[in-house]
């Protein structure tokens, strides 16, 4: 069985048994993958300490207030997975697409889990 088939099966099993809730999207780089907004020290290092998120946000088309909030909910003491999800949901479809494409420009892969 191909790896892709196994991945799809695994995802279906995940949906079936775990129940897939609301989400943002998966970002992956250097064989590490995370949902944007997840509370994780390695994600914090990858996105925040590197300065990547700040740069990425500065290039997106979303309103400045939302850029600041998104940075705050991902990278500061106010970190909140639920608020990141909520803010992502609040973006227009165009802003969501643009946000993902800027991530790609910075070498991130979107919605791929390296197994």
């Amino acid at each position: 069985m191909k790896l892709s088939t196994r991945l799809i099966t695994a995802a279906l099993l995940c949906i079936l048994f775990a129940g897939c809730g609301p989400t943002t999207f998966i970002i992956s780089k250097d064989h590490r993958a995370y949902y944007l907004g997840r509370k994780s020290e390695s994600l914090h290092t990858m996105l925040c300490k590197s300065g990547d998120l700040e740069q990425i946000l500065s290039e997106t088309i979303m309103p400045d207030d939302l850029k600041k909030e998104l940075y705050r909910f991902n990278c500061t003491e106010e970190r909140s997975k639920e608020k990141v999800i909520s803010l992502y949901l609040f973006l227009t479809p165009e802003e969501k697409e643009d946000f993902k494409s800027v991530f790609r420009r910075y070498g991130y892969t979107i919605n791929y889990v390296p197994c």
């Binding site: 695994a10 775990a18 129940g19 609301p22 909520s86």
Partner: protein
């Protein structure tokens, strides 16, 4: 080997799995956060002004098909119970009037549609993590229930729920 790759992939997916809808359980019977938003006609609506009534807050967006699907049944519910102190407020995440007016042409609802331009109510006060989201607020101004996903507001069970809230202040 195959089993191992299944286990690895499944583990990764489960670890990546975001939080579910646990918020709904923790906020029940807590005061509904107040807000002040304007509707399409420019009229200001404050949640606190509706204390003593049952309020349905419906979060939606013009780009969300499930939101649009439930709007007609929500409007019928509003028409049926508005004389018995039921208020319906539709809060859209569309930051401009135009897409909302386009929706109104196709789905001419009669309850007020409020514009949420900054995200403060949507993101900070109610932390909406799925669309549509419906929040039922009782006469005391407390959250009775949060429903994430499309709802059939015309169903017998939902009507019963609203009647209970209107008459006893509790959901069945």
């Amino acid at each position: 080997m195959k089993l191992l790759s299944y286990i690895i992939c499944l583990t990764i997916l489960l670890v990546l799995q975001p939080a579910g809808l646990s918020r709904a359980a923790t906020e029940q019977n807590t005061p509904a956060p107040d807000f002040e938003l304007i509707d399409l006609a420019g009229k200001t609506h404050r949640l606190a002004d509706y204390r003593g009534k049952v309020v349905i807050i419906n979060f939606w967006a013009s780009w969300c098909p499930e939101c649009l699907e439930e709007m007609p049944s929500l409007d019928r519910l509003y028409t049926r119970f508005s004389k018995q102190d039921l208020i319906v407020l539709g809060i859209t995440s569309d930051r401009k009037k135009d897409p909302v007016l386009e929706v109104l042409k196709k789905i001419p609802v009669t309850y007020p549609l409020l514009l949420e331009t900054g995200g403060g109510v949507f993101i900070r006060k109610y932390i909406v993590i799925g669309l549509p989201t419906t929040v039922l607020v009782d006469r005391r101004g407390f959250i009775a229930e949060r429903i994430v996903g499309r709802t059939d507001f015309g169903s017998a069970s939902f009507s019963k729920k609203i009647q209970e809230l209107l008459h006893t202040g509790r959901t069945p």
